[in-house]
Symmetry: C2
Subunit: 315 residues, 2 copies
């Protein structure tokens, strides 16, 4: 590997650095999966759509259930083998929306969404990556109960990692949508945008789905031009992050802006503008005079912006 490729240490991004061994070779082995489910050490997360069930704790909450606990709380609709956690099998148990709502009435449980869990630090950090993994796969099952090729109902297979159509024989695998998320840089300024759904005062990187027939770099240039009218030259990959809302892979980049005159697409963005380095530093430190802030550190956008702030040189 050429030494010039060394980008140095990467930040720790939310939902990454999973300690789980996915043990993917076991998925096809029904007997092995059954044995793991029967294992006294088997544990599971309990999920339904956006919701995750947690045992309430004093400081942090606990997302881990035994199969007996889970079975007593709600009927299981799907079960996904996530992998081995220090040798012990970990599953995601999918329950239906009604059952999840009913769990909210249990005083010893907290039933909330993954974003709140991550940004609030509600569980130990080690659980965030497998919870993200669970949410993405559980969400994929919920949206893919039928065969896109022939319309027939499909059945889960491979311990929850495939859905099979028994009419036309198609095997369907979990879908991931690759998304570019980028910071365009012009001298000492960077380009940030605001989506209408953002919290008051929050600004972030621009982002968009990669299209068929595009590279990462081409998607960065196209999206930056479409959303803000800015043409970009050089594009440099920074880091990636799984983003299970519902099933994206965020691919973070820095981009060299070749133009600076903005033409904001108001259908996509509430606003976009250039920010000076000092202003972004104040936003990062939550000391901006107008209360402007950047995205929470759980999201890669925060780290893309921070890496630029912390760099000494510019494009």
């Amino acid at each position: 590997m050429p030494a010039r490729f060394d980008l140095g240490a990467k930040p720790h991004l939310g939902y990454t650095a999973s300690a789980l061994d996915r043990a993917t070779e076991l998925r096809q082995d029904k007997a092995a999966i059954a044995a793991l489910e029967a294992d006294a050490g088997a544990r599971a997360f309990l999920l339904s759509g956006e919701l995750v069930a947690l045992h309430k704790g004093a400081l942090q909450h606990d997302p881990i259930f035994t199969f007996a606990e889970a079975g007593a709380l709600a009927p299981c609709s799907d079960r996904i083998f996530l992998g081995l956690r220090a040798g012990a099998p970990l599953f995601a148990i999918l329950i239906d929306a009604e059952a999840a709502e009913a769990l909210k009435r249990h005083d010893d449980l907290l039933v909330t969404d993954l974003r709140s869990i991550a940004t609030g630090g509600l569980v130990a950090a080690e659980y965030l990556p497998p919870l993200a993994q669970s949410k993405a796969v559980v969400g994929w099952h919920a949206r893919h109960r039928f065969c896109a090729k022939c319309g027939a109902p499909t059945e889960p297979a491979q311990a929850g990692w495939r859905r099979d159509c028994f009419v036309c024989g198609t095997e369907h695998f979990p879908r991931i949508d690759p998304v570019v998320i980028m910071l365009a840089i012009a001298g000492e300024r960077c380009l940030l945008g605001r989506q209408p759904r953002f919290a008051r005062g929050q600004w972030s990187c621009l982002a968009g789905y990669i299209e068929p027939g595009e590279t990462i770099e081409e998607a960065v240039r196209r999206e930056t031009f479409e959303e803000a009218g800015i043409k970009c030259g050089r594009v440099v990959y920074f880091a990636s992050q799984p983003w299970p809302f519902p099933m994206s892979l965020m691919i973070g980049c820095h981009a060299e802006a070749l133009t600076t005159e903005l033409a904001v697409d108001r259908a996509e963005l509430e606003d976009a503008r250039w920010f000076e380095r000092d202003e972004v530093a104040a936003m990062m430190l939550r000391r901006h005079p107008d209360g402007l802030i950047v995205t929470h550190p759980v999201a890669i956008a925060h780290h893309i912006i921070r890496a630029w702030l912390e760099s000494e040189s510019t494009v």
Copy 2:
């Protein structure tokens, strides 16, 4: 952008560097699309599954048809707006398999697959990126005629860039599967593998689909360990390439091998082994005494390997 992020010039990869303006804002505008279709300058590719129709030429062939030519040759089942080519609208016209077979009987046409077109240099280089774009979207339509959520038939929308379900209201967008493709490096050696479907003597990078809940870097480490038993540390992004066979995005990386003892997964690979730098150079130049070769330059694997060969330093 930090100067240390500068990876220098990237190679030209097959199917990349499209000269097309996708003009995505027009897709939602039915009147605009109808006007583009009626434009005297409108042109189209003619595709069916793996097959592309070309006008035969003396040196290179021509994939461009007028709407009148296309209509006279075969009935159109779907039409996709690809974008503007030097201001003129370009479409992909999908014809059915039977019609494509019938075109093979026309003496003035060559009907062949995109791989053969790309590796054989059968058309001008500028056409490869929009042909890749076409093949990916056309293939997506063919495999997504029904709603994965409710099973009802879906209808094309947004000039071919969306399929809508009128029963449950779900909007479906083209799917892209992100794939990691990597070269693990241990000192002066790199790890190459052979899939059973490879041409005789051909070796390439290992590769695999990114899973939900994984980063690019985590997927590189998991796949390299699963397929070859090698643990990797540092992973460095190299470049990306759309790969419409059927709908992948190849994400190329170099990886630092932390171990060297191989445990090849024979279900995935015919073989995998370490290659010395000199041997790989001979393969790249097609001068290997046993006739071993690396992947064709149309694929990113070739360039991932070449970048390592051309680098002076190692991990």
